[in-house]
């Protein structure tokens, strides 16, 4: 067999072999530790060397490749079972900043200069060292930063605001096709969807993406971008109606002379106000 044919066959075989091996080795993404990088490099180089027939003995090549694939898998399994093995393979996370103070000994351990530390902090949007409460270098070499509590973005919890839980939206129409499974997940059906689309005045075939949020509100994006879709304002309207009812009841209470009736109106106005308070996080966002 001529040499070029051998190279062609080997290359094709190694291409698929490498594909399968990498799949077997798992889903580790590029943020792998340094040793994983070495493993992948060795596999890549071995694959190339076998392909271009530098390693003439196929068996030797495959044995080496097998060892470099099997050992990492075995070690990964051991690491799951034992913390000691895990630390041995992956190393430990190293704390760079603690209680707002830079740990110089640890910096030397990971061979970071102050300049590099600042660069990493900046890349995490901490431009001011004074804002950093805690920073740690993960085993993958990434630096993660915890800002001081007063510098962290405010959450509704910080503001003492009550917010409604908002579950993820379900996509019910894609490319004009109605998807039945997400609809069923929400406890809705096609009739409901057709009804909603009719209210918006669009046909299902004209919808590129249709999503239903946690409160059952439909958002539709159309193929025809010149057509304006009325966005649902039902919640805002509902809240405004409640507000109007409260005002009405108050004015009734003022107008009547009958004390008992006055009290009844005032009591009910208070009740509606509590309802408004309760529904506010759900209706207004």
């Amino acid at each position: 067999m001529s040499e070029w044919l051998i190279v062609l066959l080997k290359s094709t075989a190694m291409f698929f072999l490498a594909l399968i091996l990498i799949r077997i080795m798992g889903k580790r993404q590029p943020d792998m530790g340094p040793f994983n990088f070495v493993t992948y490099s060795v596999i890549a180089v071995l694959t190339v060397l076998i392909s271009v027939n530098v390693i003439r003995n196929l068996v030797f090549g495959l044995i080496t490749l097998g060892v470099w694939v099997a050992l990492p898998i075995a070690l990964d399994f051991l690491a799951v079972k034992s913390k000691w093995v895990h630390d041995l393979i992956n190393g430990k996370a190293i704390i760079l900043v603690k209680d707002g103070k830079v740990m110089e000994e640890n910096l030397i351990q990971v061979r970071y200069t102050g300049e590099e530390l600042l660069r990493e902090l900046r890349s995490r949007n901490a431009f001011n060292l004074a804002d950093v409460e805690f920073a740690v270098m993960e085993t993958t070499g990434d630096v993660n930063v915890l800002l001081k509590s007063e510098k962290q973005p405010a959450t509704p919890y910080d503001l003492g605001k009550q917010v409604a839980p908002r579950p993820e939206s379900q996509t019910v129409i894609l490319d004009g096709n109605v998807l039945d499974e997400p609809l069923a997940n929400l406890g809705l059906n096609r009739e409901w969807l057709n009804d909603q689309l009719e209210r918006l005045g669009v046909s299902p075939a004209n919808v590129f993406i249709g999503q239903v949020d946690g409160t059952g509100e439909l958002y539709a994006d159309l193929f025809d971008d010149s057509q304006q879709v009325p966005q649902p304002k039902v919640k805002e309207l509902l809240y405004a109606n409640l507000e109007k009812a409260v005002a009405d009841l108050m004015s009734f209470a003022l107008e009547t002379n009958d004390l008992q009736v006055k009290e009844m109106y005032a009591k009910n106005a208070g009740k509606l106000k509590r309802v408004m308070e309760k529904l506010k996080p759900y209706l207004l966002r």
Binding site: P165, G214, G216, N241, K244, V261, N268, L272, V275, K278
Partner: protein, 68 residues
């Protein structure tokens, strides 16, 4: 507009509020929000029944404005 008519107007708008809240109670996804809407609907219902009683009384007092 008489007082009776005004109260009736408020009553009907509250009824529409209640039915909308009912719809949300039925189609909201997490049980938590669904329960909040249901509770709100119940409270609005209490207000509605109080107002209905008042309308009956007003109609009894001024039968000439009775209707609907």
């Amino acid at each position: 507009m008489t007082v009776g008519a005004k109260v009736k107007q408020t009553l009907s708008s509250l009824k529409s509020v209640k039915s909308t809240v009912d719809i949300y109670a039925a189609q909201s996804q997490p049980a938590e929000s669904s329960a909040a809407f249901r509770e709100a609907a119940e409270m609005v219902n209490g207000v509605i029944s109080d107002l209905e009683k008042r309308v009956q009384k007003l109609e009894f007092e001024e039968p000439q404005y009775k209707g609907l």
